[in-house]
């Protein structure tokens, strides 16, 4: 199995409060993460390369020059797009749904916490976030990365098997008259 290098992971922090942004930035940097801090969900989506354009197709494609983000940590209560809304947008995007998302909130509301976890959030941090909470981030990033590698491996294996199975299919069609008869009868039913 490939070993994940101890390179710096990049965390996108989202919070509308300037003070809390400074705080989470310091917490993350002290824990050796690279940080980008933004003040809203829509800015976060821009960084992630997702367009808010409603006219585009549901499966939005990231821009070619987007930065790689390994984890998103977002405040829950924000004007406009809440942390929950942002979570749903990320998990609803085919290109971004494997990025782990952590939600922060100053209020301990069990129904809110459950809703976020059910919505795909990896964790829920109660504010004020502590230095010790930062340790809980790396496992989620590593899990995501190994999933990514597993998917890549599976895709490569699939490609190989589909190439050889196509070859077999071609041979089968020549040798199986029965199959041809079935196809003809199907065509007749179209009349």
């Amino acid at each position: 199995m490939a070993v994940v290098a101890e390179s710096q992971f990049h965390v996108l922090a989202v919070d509308d409060s300037l003070m809390d942004r400074k705080l989470i930035e310091r917490l993350l940097k002290t824990s050796s993460f690279q940080v980008t801090a933004v003040d809203s969900g829509s800015r976060a989506l821009q960084v992630l390369g997702l367009s808010e354009d409603l006219t585009s197709s549901p499966a939005v494609y990231p821009a070619h020059n987007e930065i790689e983000v390994n984890l998103v940590i977002t405040d829950y209560c924000m004007p406009g797009m809440t942390g929950y809304d942002l979570l749903k947008k990320i998990k609803g995007s085919s290109s971004l749904r494997d990025i782990p998302v952590v939600i922060m909130s100053s209020e301990n509301v069990p129904s809110r916490i459950n809703r976020c976890l059910e919505g795909g959030a990896e964790e829920f941090f109660l504010k004020p976030v502590q230095l010790s909470d930062m340790k809980r981030l790396r496992p989620h990033i590593l899990k995501g990365k190994s999933k990514e590698q597993q998917l890549q491996q599976e895709e490569e294996e699939e490609e190989e098997t589909s190439i050889s199975s196509n070859k077999r299919k071609a041979m089968d069609e020549e040798l199986s008259p029965e199959r041809r008869r079935l196809r003809l009868s199907n065509n007749n039913s179209l009349i």
Partner: protein
């Protein structure tokens, strides 16, 4: 004043703030996050908190003064102030905000007026001590940089 005397003053100030409930453990977290790579971190957070708090208190004063109070709006601001006071470790301010929110929930105008005064009282007490703290820190840092030269 000597460097040692300055440091002692700062420690005494901090201790009194913890004992009197102006500050809680969260402030210690902030102190832990300050290091050589970010020497001005605590000062920066304190400054941001004070700017934020004063902005909110100004808005709250206007809102609670209205003939008909928009309690939802008031609550939203108090929630913000509660959040930032919690993040900076401003315990008494935070507790006063929690009380304030109770009155908002009850749509109690008189309660809100009183609660706002309590919040202001605690905030300005804290502001005063923060000012002294930052001044002491500046003087201490001036010593350190002199020694390095």
């Amino acid at each position: 004043m000597s460097l040692m005397a300055l440091r002692e003053q700062l420690n005494m100030l901090l201790n009194s703030m913890y004992i009197e409930g102006l500050l809680d453990q969260q402030f210690q977290q902030l102190q832990m996050l300050q290091d050589a790579s970010s020497p001005g971190f605590v000062a920066e957070v304190i400054t941001l908190f004070c700017e934020d708090a004063e902005r909110i208190l100004t808005e709250l004063t206007k809102l609670v003064d209205q003939a008909v109070v928009d309690f939802q709006k008031v609550d939203a601001y108090v929630h913000q102030l509660k959040g930032s006071s919690s993040s900076v470790g401003a315990q008494n301010v935070k507790l006063a905000c929690i009380q304030f929110r109770q009155f908002c929930e009850e749509n109690n105008k008189v309660g809100c007026l009183n609660a706002l005064n309590v919040v202001k009282h605690h905030y300005y007490l804290l502001r005063n001590k923060f000012d002294t703290m930052l001044q002491l820190e500046q003087r201490i840092q001036a010593y350190d940089s002199k020694q390095q030269n």
